[in-house]
């Protein structure tokens, strides 16, 4: 068995007559930072939606550590170890920062409804464990001091970070980040880059990210796939991508 965590083969999807993604192959290795880039409308987010079960692929296979993920429901895929953030932030806005993470940490608790309603000792024990774990995760981004703030009252940058923390809550093997640096200033982007590398090392996960900020992508990704019109344009190291004439053509025109 190789150390490929995510293996995507011949992935394709049709929306009516439109072939949004066609014949895509991606191999994300263990502990790898992988970039998925492409011009607007290339199908990047569609790929994410297929990987997380939001859309069902028309053809092709998605395997996580050799296990087929096609046709699984989003929450099953999340529990198998693929978690994600969203291009336009989707937090549980009226809940506290802590509660946002606790919802994702649900995977580690197993007390029953009756235990929860009757508040038996197991409830307190597991809730305490969950809360400690949540605080530990929040501390990665320094969000632990905001634990009891409502998510909607967080500044934009912190909301993006909270979304990443929540995604870590399901203890993923593969983390999908959809434009994590969108709307961030250069300093915030820099600290985000550092944070992504840190969490990759601390949590021993692979990261697949969509990003338009080339400084971020070229700076931290070890491998990059470029797609255009839903098909593979190029795949390689940042240096190879930067000098690839087809990529330059797709981004800048002739």
């Amino acid at each position: 068995m190789s150390n490929v965590v995510l293996e995507v083969r011949d992935l394709g999807i049709n929306f009516g007559g439109l072939r949004a993604v066609d014949g895509l192959n991606i191999d994300v290795e263990k502990n790898q930072l992988y970039g998925l880039i492409g011009p607007n409308g290339a199908g990047k987010t569609t790929v994410f939606n297929m990987l997380t079960g939001v859309y069902e692929p028309s053809d092709g296979t998605i395997k996580l550590n050799g296990e087929l993920l096609n046709k699984k429901k989003p929450h099953e895929i999340a529990r198998k170890g693929v978690s994600r953030t969203f291009q336009n932030i989707r937090l549980f806005k009226n809940l506290t920062v802590l509660e946002n993470v606790l919802i994702a940490l649900d995977t580690q608790a197993d007390y029953s409804i009756l235990t929860g309603v009757l508040k038996l000792p197991k409830f307190f024990r597991q809730e305490k464990e969950m809360e400690e774990e949540a605080m530990r995760l929040l501390a990665v981004f320094g969000l632990d001091s905001d634990a009891h703030t409502l998510a909607r009252n967080l500044p934009y940058g912190k909301q993006r970070e909270l979304e990443i923390v929540r995604a870590l809550g399901t203890h993923p093997k593969l983390l999908l980040l959809d434009e994590p640096a969108a709307g961030m200033n250069p300093q915030e982007t820099q600290s985000l880059m550092d944070a992504i590398e840190t969490l990759r090392n601390t949590f021993d996960i692979s990261v697949l990210l969509i990003e338009h900020d080339m400084k971020l992508v070229m700076g931290i990704c070890e491998k990059i796939t470029v797609i255009n019109y839903g098909t593979l344009l190029a795949c390689g190291t940042p240096e190879e991508i930067q000098t690839n004439p087809q990529v330059i053509k797709a981004y800048l025109g002739e």
Partner: protein
């Protein structure tokens, strides 16, 4: 957490007991006469119905218009049981209440299967239809009296029963909301797509919210049946569902305390307005409009916020 919870529990239990003792003393001494006692009893039943509907409408975030239907299932099921079985009331009534609750729970589960596929307006229509279907089935069942009504139900519902069942309903709902299951239910309201991506089995938690809500609607129905001692399908129309929904909305979606307060206010208010005789419902509607407007007035909120002790302010809610 554990310590904080114990303190909270102690205050809650103390409030409940003191409340009960005060009310009983007032009833014994005749300060509260039978008429007021009846209104208070109805208020307790309405608390059960309102708090339970708030689980689906406020916390799960789905507009449900079939609450009266589940209430009817609970009312008839429990009445059927207590009329045909002759045990001592102290044993028979709690069993009847549970039977009412579980009958409604089963009905809720059946309704949730098609209802889960839809959301928003469509779900509202399905639940509305479910309520009407239940009412029409009851109308055509001769063993429970059909349209003529079901008479001779033993009058087991005393104030004490209604009071303590309401307390149990409030505690159970609050407790559910504060558990991992409650958080998952709320996450569906907040953002269903994000909830799924965070590993929440949204279908499962929708069913849990739905049947929990139906169970207590049935319990409320059981109390109601053994208080009125007479049931008729005509009681459980869409109007009844709307009436409960109004209480939920006035109290605040996703606020259990609000539900309790508004259930009491909206039970007492129509009685206070009896002096207006023919114009009673007109004044009642006006009062409702004024209350809803006042609820959204920032000045009033500020004023209420100042009156409220700081410990009470935090509550999960959304507008």
């Amino acid at each position: 957490m554990n310590q904080k919870f114990k303190k909270q529990l102690l205050t809650d239990v103390l409030t409940v007991v003191i409340g009960y003792v005060v009310l009983t003393v007032l009833m014994r001494t005749g300060v509260i006469n039978d008429y007021i006692k009846g209104i208070l009893l109805m208020a307790c039943i309405n608390i059960v119905l309102t708090v339970s509907l708030n689980i689906t409408s406020g916390f799960l975030g789905e507009l449900a218009l079939g609450h009266a239907g589940f209430m009817a299932v609970g009312a008839y099921a429990s009445a059927l049981f207590s009329k045909s079985i002759g045990l001592i009331p102290a044993v028979e009534f709690p069993v009847a209440i549970l039977i009412g609750g579980f009958a409604a729970l089963i009905a809720g589960y059946i309704v949730s299967i098609p209802a889960l596929r839809l959301k928003g307006d469509y779900l509202a229509i399905i639940t509305l239809a479910a309520g009407e279907i239940i009412r029409n089935i009851l109308k055509n069942l001769d063993i429970i009296g059909g349209t003529k009504g079901y008479t001779g139900i033993p009058g087991y519902t005393t104030f004490a029963w209604a009071y303590f069942v309401a307390v149990i309903c409030i505690f159970a709902s609050k407790s559910l909301i504060q558990s991992r299951h409650g958080r998952s239910i709320i996450s569906i309201r907040e953002d269903e797509i994000a909830a799924e991506a965070s590993g929440v089995d949204t279908n499962r938690y929708k069913i849990i919210g739905f049947i929990f809500s139906a169970f207590f609607a049935g319990v409320g129905g059981a109390l109601y049946a053994h208080y009125l001692r007479f049931l008729q399908p005509g009681i459980f129309t869409l109007n009844k569902s709307i009436e409960i929904l109004v209480m939920v909305v006035l109290g605040g979606m996703g606020s259990i305390r609000g539900s309790v307060i508004s259930a009491v206010i909206l039970t007492v208010l129509p009685e206070l307005l009896r002096g207006f005789s023919d114009y009673r419902m007109l004044v009642y509607s006006l009062a409702l409009i004024i209350m809803m407007l006042a609820k959204h007035s920032d000045k009033l909120k500020l004023l209420l916020g100042k009156l409220q002790p700081a410990a009470l302010r935090k509550e999960t809610g959304h507008e």
